[in-house]
Symmetry: C2
Subunit: 268 residues, 2 copies
């Protein structure tokens, strides 16, 4: 049973479509109390899941236009195409009659994927989670603006060492590797992965930039994860005039790549 | 004047919106005569350009649902939000009343971008174009299915050496670096870059896979290119059960990253 976990309870949509109701929870807020973008994306995917006849969000693109605040919201969906292999649809999340997020997604059945496999990258090499630091614990987060209540309470986050940014000395290298999993024992699944890529600390923290806003986020879900810890890798290579990409990979505990994402964001 | 170049002539849309007419040209066809996806994306961007009040497509995501054939098409657009910094809209390309491609894009004015810059990657190191091989010449392409007429005639393509796939011995390394520019002296601009990332030979050719279909393509335009040759880098790291990403970078002749993209595609 996953229905009682905050992820499931807080992303639930009501109605039968094409217009769903939703309630944005304050349990996924960041800093100044707007909702985390990955959480809002997850609400949109829950609505799309209702109307598309394939189980796994394979390719997801979200355009973030306005901040979303705790409180009521609507999600309007439409089906672009329902084909044999892919079902593609769109969800628009509105708050106060203003569109805040637009998501297009193609769903597939990843259990039926069959074809050649050749992987030239590899999973992050990390100490076991029990030998790592709990980055989202109160004593580590301190007054960083990420402390619980809010999204920090929703995730278990284990990092091999205290990040430079948290010691007041950003490394200058916008990359990190760490463990993530939903708090409370809920296993990750393909519906949770697209939001998860936007829930960790941004890579640009290690450049000394602590405020960045996502413009667009694309996630490709590559496989269904097995239950357990997820090894994550985040990096930013190109910060240009304030705009930067952030790449994110999630590998499950069998060493399989399960999600790959890139977002474009703007500092400040 | 760029209006007479095939890119401009063949991506033109007519009407005042929100429903535009377009004519898909056979000058951008690939192999079995469907239109190249990057070209079709460009038609959608031409329609969005008409209704959005910012000049540069900053973030673009396209979902390819059906092949597009030479002949008449419609492009239906809507504006999601027109804000101070970003204008976001959607274009749906229909052929025979069926939606074939859905594009969401945020436009900005890149000439007004101002903020920190820190680049940790670097441009491809290539011999000068005049010392490279013309990959799209008839003698090199032979009967590869990419020969002119069609998209091969629209681009100038220079590669340091004959690719393994063209010699019948794919290298097994799904990556390549090469020069590209539009044929006929048309300078590249930010409206042309998003389509260009989908016009080169797929990286998986070097794995011996010669048929792949784009599901979703995201392009982030990072700067306005100066006129001249564009240094390109393409790679695929994760081929999993037939699904693979393809990453693409375009650098202008001053060594500046001007576009970065990723697509998810499926072999066969």
């Amino acid at each position: 049973m996953t229905g009682d976990h905050p992820f499931d309870a807080d992303t639930a949509v009501v109605g039968s479509g094409p217009r769903f109701g939703a309630t944005i929870s304050d349990r996924w807020s960041v800093g100044d109390a707007h909702a985390n973008g990955g959480y809002v994306l997850s609400v949109c995917l829950r609505a799309l899941e209702q109307v598309l006849d394939k189980p796994d969000p394979l390719a997801v693109s979200a355009f973030f236009q306005r901040r979303v605040l705790p409180g009521p919201a609507e999600v309007h969906v439409d089906i672009a195409r329902s084909g044999r292999r892919l079902a593609t649809g769109e969800a628009r999340l509105l708050q106060g009659d203003q569109e805040a997020v637009r998501v297009v997604a193609s769903f597939a059945d990843l259990s039926r994927a069959a074809g050649p496999t050749l992987v030239s990258g590899s999973a992050p090499v990390l100490p076991p989670p029990q030998d790592c630091l709990d980055l989202f614990s109160g004593e580590v987060l301190g007054d960083s603006g990420l402390e619980a209540p809010g999204i920090a309470g929703r995730l278990e986050y284990r990092t091999p060492r205290l990040p430079g940014w948290r010691q007041g000395s950003p490394s200058g290298q916008a990359k990190a590797e760490f463990w993530l999993r939903p708090a409370g024992g809920r296993p990750a699944d393909t519906l949770l992965l697209p939001g998860l890529v936007d829930m960790a600390v941004p890579a640009v923290f290690e450049l000394g930039h602590y405020a960045t806003t996502t413009i667009e986020l694309t996630v490709h879900v590559r496989a269904r994860p097995v239950p357990g810890w997820l090894a994550c890798r985040v990096s930013t290579r190109y910060l240009i005039e304030g705009y930067h990409e952030e790449d994110f990979e999630i590998w499950d505990s069998t060493g399989r790549l399960v999600a790959q994402s890139r977002q474009l964001a703007l500092l400040g």
